[in-house]
């Protein structure tokens, strides 16, 4: 059930910095990650992957491997049972990569699975995999869009057909040509890998020929279930996907990758549960990456710095089959008012696997280009970087003319500047020294959309005063368990320790996965809706119960807040849900509900224009408001002009993201987002060899992510923000917001420190030294 609630619900525990409810299980090891689950009879799978990037397999010699003790089977394209359908044959394929290896002898990318060994021990399977000898007919691969052999093409649609590859508004080129101020620059972004701590893993358990349970490191159990059902030609209901804990994902576990179905097929063939976890090296060619890309951004402005044109183009590498690329251009309209705008994507096919969404896909690299160029523009005009942003502040969404559902960006700028001491910044680049170090201050804006989403939840309140709340969501490790416990506690008026929140199982009510920052807002709303179903049932029960203070009241005169039913006109008259339930003799009561997040919520509750609360027109696809979260980053860097090293020495992030469900986990998320961005800014870079199209640093010794010593004290705040249009609780997602703009904030600070503009990520010491050689 849903109500037309226009104020956000009153809270008691929601918002409080509650410790993680899953913390004790994690630190004591009681929490089992997918690869740690033990089912009797489990055997181990190990993948052998292609050494070459292009060509075909001419022979596979498994004779030595097969002699190892404990080998149950060695699958190759020659003997692996075929799935009912391949991804290409599935209309509703829900994943970035549509290519399934081991169906024939073709090799399309380095690291592509060529064999799967199943053995009684992990050691035996690993050893056997090493002993398999694969002979290839090698062809020359294409390594990237920069390869002279690569051909750029117009993909028409990007992101698996979801987005247009050309977006044009107004007359951008003409406006640019006529602009008083012009700025053009090209920005390069390295290949990045998600590199979560927990590697991808599958444990496939067949319970009979037509019943399958898969324990998967999944950010979206429904997606995994749906794709498996299609691949296997089985009804969804016969497949159960379980993910109780995730050790980070950053997007890579939110898509479907070959190892999952290969493990499932192997398990069916050997008639044993098979567990397979990718090695760290395989994580670099097993679960996608952020693609190598460059963007050219042309900004045209009036003499006083008002944007008149944004012309954005992006070139990137994609796989031989899919047109996946992040849509970098979409953030421009969220931040700045500009009538003339275009963004165009060009892709080149190379021998790489399909890239995939990685924390703030599009917004991350897109903001690097936009917010660096805006900084340059401010510098050209000799005005403060904040001032150029205010002059171009978008007071509505120029892409569709809609007002914002809420936007606290100005407050974020103001509060961030205050916390940081922005007024003390020296606007002149290259002038501030601390010993030998050049000191610089930079800032950038952050924004992330509220993607429309919906989900369901179930609430079961027991007469003894505890509750079980269920939704098939996932917890990346960022706090879903905790915040949903808080939401449930307030909805039912119980202390958090009386709530058991269950997630990560397709047997539970369907909920969205952790991706696109939709989980918190959607699942919290679903729980609220399910709780309201319980409220309604309880109110009905109470008004019919002689012993209730609400006896004979009209249900519409009764309100429920924090688990207590009372008369609106006489709030003293009422009782708690638990008290009424206890008297009824009924052991428990169950409610379920659907929660909506974003445009879907607004349409249902406010009508398309946000005017008519009774409008329930399902035809309408978008709400009346444009919905986004916003924030601002401020940072200080020290640059060693002789050695080229950059250290971030201070960080302030201020964000407006609606209702904050838990101040502690939310602050951690935003801090983590900024750290993720600092990684992309300063060190993350996977090198693909130009001749072999194979990575040369595919492990965590070679692929650097930030360590403690790289991270200074991080200060994060949220500005208060109420948004009635986005969902029942006014929650905006925060998973990705914290990362947007970070790379630009660092680059802008480096510019302020050195007078040099670095436009190629990551900004490693070699690039800094090269820039320092050039005149400022």
């Amino acid at each position: 059930m849903e109500t037309n609630q226009k104020e956000n619900a009153p809270t008691n525990v929601v918002g409080k910095p509650l410790d993680r409810v899953d913390g004790p299980a994690k630190v004591t090891g009681a929490a089992r990650y997918s690869a740690e689950i033990n089912v009797p009879g489990t055997v181990h799978g190990v993948l052998k992957t292609s050494t070459i990037a292009k060509g075909r397999i001419t022979s596979i010699d498994t004779s030595r491997a097969a002699k190892e003790p404990g080998i149950l089977n060695i699958f190759t394209h020659e003997n692996l049972p075929k799935p009912a359908k391949t991804p290409k044959q599935i209309e509703k394929w829900r994943a970035a990569q549509s290519y399934l290896p081991m169906q024939d002898n073709q090799i399309q990318y380095a690291g592509q699975p060529v064999a799967l060994v199943v053995a009684t021990t992990l050691e035996a399977a690993t050893q056997a995999a090493a002993l398999i000898k694969v002979t290839y007919q090698v062809e020359t691969p294409i390594d990237s869009y920069l390869d002279p052999k690569a051909e750029l093409f117009d993909p028409q649609k990007i992101q698996s057909g979801k987005k247009d590859a050309h977006v044009v508004r107004g007359n951008p080129q003409q406006a640019y040509d006529g602009a008083a101020l012009k700025h053009e620059a090209t920005y390069v972004h390295a290949i990045n890998h998600h590199s979560p701590m927990e590697s991808a893993a599958t444990l496939a358990v067949w319970e009979g020929a037509d019943k399958l349970t898969v324990y998967e490191a999944s950010q979206n159990v429904t997606m995994h279930q749906g794709n498996l059902a299609e691949l296997l030609g089985m009804p969804r209901e016969q497949i159960r996907v379980v993910t109780k804990y995730i050790g980070g994902g950053f997007g890579c576990k939110g898509s479907f990758w070959p190892h999952t179905i290969l493990t499932v097929l192997a398990a069916r063939a050997v008639n044993r549960p098979v567990k397979l976890a990718l090695t760290r090296q395989q994580m670099f060619t097993g679960v996608g990456h952020r693609e190598d890309q460059e963007q050219t951004l042309k900004l045209g402005a009036t003499a006083d710095g008002k944007l008149v044109s944004i012309v954005h183009t992006k070139k990137a590498t994609t796989s031989p089959w899919d047109n996946y690329t992040e849509s970098n251009g979409k953030i421009m309209d969220m931040l700045y008012a500009c009538e003339n705008y275009s963004t165009v994507y060009e892709l080149a096919r190379a021998n790489v696997m399909t890239s995939v969404w990685m924390r703030a896909p599009g917004e991350g690299p897109g903001s690097f280009a936009l917010e660096s160029s805006m900084d340059d523009l401010a510098n050209q005009l000799n005005i403060d970087p904040l001032e150029i942003r205010l002059r171009n502040y978008a007071d509505h969404d120029h892409s569709n003319g809609k007002p914002w559902s809420s936007k606290s960006l100005k407050q974020c700028y103001t509060r961030g500047a205050e916390l940081f001491g922005w007024d003390k910044r020296n606007p002149k680049p290259g002038q501030t020294r601390r010993g030998r170090m050049l000191v610089g201050h930079g800032m950038a804006s952050a924004t992330y959309p509220v993607h429309s989403s919906q989900g369901t939840a179930r609430v079961r309140l027991f007469a003894d005063g505890h509750a079980v709340v269920e939704a098939g969501a996932t917890d990346l490790g960022t706090g879903t368990y905790t915040v949903m416990t808080q939401v449930s506690a307030d909805a039912l008026g119980l202390p958090p320790e009386k709530i058991r929140f269950e997630l990560g199982d397709t047997r539970l009510p369907t909920a969205p996965g952790s991706g696109g920052s939709v989980a918190a807002g959607t699942v919290a709303s679903s729980i609220m809706a399910a709780a309201q179903d319980v409220w309604d049932k309880m109110v009905k029960m109470a008004v019919a119960d002689k012993k209730s203070p609400l006896y004979k009241a009209k249900p519409t005169d009764v309100k429920v807040e924090l688990g207590r039913m009372f008369l609106i006109k006489d709030p003293k008259k009422g009782e708690t849900l638990v008290a009424a339930l206890g008297r009824s003799g009924q052991p428990d009561i169950e409610g379920s509900g659907t929660g909506r997040y974003g445009a879907g919520y607004e349409e249902k509750n406010f009508g398309q224009n946000g005017a008519d609360p009774n409008n329930d027109n399902k035809e309408k696809k978008t709400g009346g408001h444009s919905m986004h979260s916003f924030g601002a980053h401020f940072c200080e860097v020290e640059v060693d002009p002789d050695l080229g090293t950059i250290r971030v020495t201070r960080w302030v992030g201020v964000h407006g993201a609606g209702t904050v469900l838990n101040l502690k986990t939310a602050t951690s998320q935003m801090t983590g987002g900024a750290i993720y961005g600092i990684g992309a800014a300063l060190m993350e870079d996977t090198f693909r060899d130009p001749n072999f199209a194979r990575y040369t640093n595919a492990d965590l010794a070679g692929y650097h992510v930030p360590v403690n010593a790289d991270i200074p004290n991080m200060q994060v705040e949220f500005v208060p923000e109420t948004d009635p249009y986005i969902n029942l609780l006014g929650v905006k997602g925060i998973g990705e917001l914290g990362m947007v703009g970070v790379t630009a904030a660092v680059a802008n600070a480096v510019f302020n420190a050195t007078g040099r503009r670095l436009r190629s990520l990551p900004m490693t010491p070699d690039k800094v030294l090269e820039a320092m050689r050039l005149p400022a």
């Binding site: 050494t51 070459i52 380095a110 050691e123 690993t126 050893q127 090493a130 090296q281 030998r436 002789d642 050695l643 080229g644 090293t645 250290r647 300063l682 060190m683 090198f687 060899d689 130009p690 001749n691 072999f692 194979r694 990575y695 040369t696 640093n697 595919a698 492990d699 010794a701 070679g702 650097h704 930030p706 360590v707 403690n708 010593a709 790289d710 490693t764 010491p765 070699d766 030294l769 090269e770 050689r773």
Partner: protein, 327 residues
């Protein structure tokens, strides 16, 4: 990783004899280098000889200098007051290396024998002359950002020793004590221990198959006491050096009396800069002098597409390090 057998040696002789008799065996100390290489099938050993019980321990001052047992752990040596006070470059090279966990496991002997971080070497899918002689060197035209610019050959451009400790040891004229299966010991100055790649990059040191490293001895000098290790890397901790410098100076009345200079990250092996040292002696301890020494140290550098930055970075690192020990 392949299957292997494992023995624990109580006596040096037991270990060296086992190694002499089995060409495919390897000694294992902390295992932090060895196991990584075995897991990625870069090295395949059918037998591991655990040397951790051997009495190659102790950190003590002798008449020849500071003697450190080869099985002492990096963390213990780095934190030892004698090392910190008398040989700061050595202590710093140890404490700036790897991570705390690795330093607690890793031994001094193992550190000296760690192998290149060249990405092609560590992935058997690639050809590599060092790993499989004669297959070629893809780094010449590929990912050479971390590789060497001095002492390389057309066969291999790796920084064969990528670590830190040996850079400090080379600067300070350390001597290795080795012992073979006959129980015979010999002393090898570390400046003569490492081999340049030439046409045989697979041969990295003069260590014989049946030899163990017993100890390292570092002569006590004024330059060692006023020494420093400076490391430049891609992140603030837990990363190999892009470039590093180990330097020591003895300065009297503003004039340099003795100088020790070595570079890491730029040489095919840890790089002692003897010419720069000679030039420094007798000169005033000024930045101009250091700059001239740095120019000399990098003379003849042969950069590739992605590592040309190392020339300037190494010069600046040297100047910075020398300036800091001169005060």
């Amino acid at each position: 990783m392949n299957n292997f057998s494992y023995i624990q040696a109580d006596k040096a002789k037991e270990a060296t004899a086992a190694k002499r008799d089995d060409k495919s065996a390897a000694f294992i100390a902390g295992g932090t280098t060895l196991l990584d290489l075995m897991k990625s099938n870069v090295e395949n050993h059918d037998q591991l000889i655990d040397v951790n019980l051997l009495p190659f321990r102790g950190i003590e001052m002798t008449k020849d200098g500071l003697r450190i047992g080869a099985l002492e752990r990096m963390s213990d040596v780095g934190a030892h007051p004698l090392v910190a006070q008398q040989f700061p470059a050595v202590a710093e090279s140890l404490l700036l290396a790897a991570s705390a966990q690795l330093r607690n496991m890793a031994s001094i002997g193992g550190n000296v024998l760690q192998r290149t971080r060249c990405g092609y070497f560590r992935d058997t899918a690639f050809p590599c002359n060092k790993r499989e002689p004669g297959t070629g060197c893809p780094a010449l035209e590929g990912d050479n950002r971390n590789l060497a610019i001095l002492g390389t050959s057309e066969t291999c451009i790796a920084t064969s020793y990528p670590g830190d400790l040996s850079v400090a040891l080379i600067a300070l004229d350390a001597v290795l004590t080795l012992e073979n299966a006959k129980g015979k010991q010999r002393q090898v100055p570390i400046t003569k221990f490492y081999l340049l790649p030439g046409t045989t990059p697979q041969r990295e040191t003069v260590l014989e198959a049946d030899e163990l490293i017993v100890a390292v001895t570092i002569p006590q000098t004024e330059a060692a006491r006023k020494s420093k290790y400076l490391k430049v890397r891609d992140r603030a901790s837990y990363a190999y050096a892009l470039v590093s410098a180990a330097v020591g100076l003895e300065v009297q009345g503003g004039t340099i009396r003795a100088a020790r200079v070595a570079l890491g990250g730029v040489g095919a092996q840890p790089w002692r800069c003897s010419e720069a040292e000679k030039m420094l002696v007798g000169k005033p301890a000024t930045e101009a002098t250091f700059r001239a020494a740095a120019e000399l140290a990098l003379r003849g550098a042969k950069p590739r597409e992605h590592n040309a930055y190392k020339i300037e970075m190494a010069k600046n690192t040297l100047v910075r390090a020398l300036s800091e020990v001169a005060v």
